[in-house]
Symmetry: C2
Subunit: 276 residues, 2 copies
């Protein structure tokens, strides 16, 4: 039964749940690859990833007492060595530092990331990948993973200047797809793109000043869509070294948000290669 394994927490300072303390003000990411998962959907994906023996491990869970019944199937799917803590609303607020309406938290850990070459060598012969360079906004990072998942991309590749997609907010915005979409965050932008080009990828850098219209991009077996930060966008050396594409827009004003732009471009590319 679920109730047998529940560990009741009555003191916000209990050391067994120390990792959840004040999570709004800090982020665990970077500390031995640990991260905080929030909400039912993300917890379910983490539990599934753990059970499948993949690269993510659920280390502990912390639930609001009244959420337990609705999560019985997820809890049952967690191996017995994963402790499941429960707390009342008052205690949970005291731990977390703000009123967490979802009442569902887990501490996860990512095993060591593959080395870039090995990761790229495992990509299928027909592949669509999303590449992020200098993406520092957690919302944009999360949305990019969500879009990659929705349009059936095979992987997300990030240069080392990107933020960690396991940041609490990025993971939440991704609706957990950071846990299901293979990804790698290593090396410089230029090195990453050269490594893809070496492996036969057609590289399409997205920019409002891109040469090709995204609607005219020819399909190919291996396609990489590259997006950069808002504001500066991709550096000129990248835009001129590889193919560049633009999303056509009405004259004047402003360009699209990078998350939306990645969604539109992936939609077009996935259409072109019949993934959707």
């Amino acid at each position: 039964m679920t109730s047998d394994r529940l560990i009741e927490i009555t003191n916000p300072d209990d050391p067994r749940i120390a990792e959840f303390r004040d999570i709004r003000e800090r982020d665990l990411t970077g500390r031995e690859n640990r991260f905080i998962a929030e909400g039912t959907v993300v917890l379910r994906l983490l539990a599934e990833a753990h059970a499948a023996g993949g690269e993510f491990i659920a280390e502990k869970v912390l639930l609001l007492q009244n959420r337990v019944a609705g999560l019985a199937d997820i809890i049952a799917g967690l191996p017995p060595e994963v402790p499941v803590h429960v707390a009342t609303s008052e205690v949970l607020d005291g731990i977390v530092g703000f009123h967490l309406h979802r009442g569902v938290l887990a501490l996860g850990r990512r095993k060591t990331e593959s080395e870039l070459s090995a990761f790229l060598d495992r990509l299928p012969q027909q592949a669509l990948v999303l590449v992020g360079c200098g993406i520092s906004n957690h919302d944009n990072m999360g949305s990019m993973f969500r879009n990659a998942a929705v349009f059936g991309a095979d992987a997300v590749l990030l240069d080392e200047s990107c933020c960690d997609p396991l940041y609490r907010k990025a993971l939440r915005v991704s609706v957990g797809s950071v846990l299901t979409m293979p990804y790698c965050r290593q090396s410089s932008d230029v090195h990453l793109l050269a490594a893809l080009a070496d492996r036969g990828f057609a590289i399409w850098s997205l920019s409002p000043r891109g040469e090709a219209d995204i609607r005219d991009v020819p399909p190919s077996d291996r396609m990489a869509l590259v997006v950069g930060t808002e504001g500066d966008g991709l550096p000129q050396n990248i835009l001129s070294a590889f193919g560049s594409v633009r999303i056509p827009q009405a004259p004047g004003l402003d360009s699209l948000n990078v998350a939306t732009a990645s969604g539109i471009a992936l939609f077009e590319m996935a259409s072109r290669i019949k993934r959707i």
Copy 2:
């Protein structure tokens, strides 16, 4: 000269800038149609709207001292009756309640909104409009306006259950396009769509369960794309009363964020009617 009109504020409690106090914790919207504009881009659009005699008025401006030189052209474009206040970083933080890196704030006001029928009657014969039903997230609202502007839509229509697009964060995320894109927020979802149908609009409600593929939507002179909240999405009575469309996606998992989905669907529709 710019410096002649600057009003120095040295006390955070100065009543002349009371509207800017603690803006993070509250929102002016709803109070006599006033709103807070943040950042250079939004201030510029507000100043232009004011100068053009449109529906938005700049009531007062509050700037970080060291931002003044870079904003001289915007300040010069503001009519002399608009007071421009300046403050040091310490005083500004004391007023606003958090460290505001942009250092550019304005208080704006929207004149009374047109009545819905009059608003719709002014739309051009060839028209593309974005309709939001029950959009309560400020980020999504802002992104929808931004997407509508980028793809040349003629208007945004919101049912009365939507949040106000002049909320500080929605306005900021829209990159000011709430001030340039004609919009109306009135009446119920069903009434709004019926009023559009009466005026010859082909109505396409976006849903993961939509009947038509967005790539197959036939072009028409007047097209309305309708999006609903995440989670519940559009109510079934709307989906069955009008045409519904889906953005195809890889099997399983989750659907797109409503902001990204609106961007993709507007991109497709704008392509179809040769707006982009």
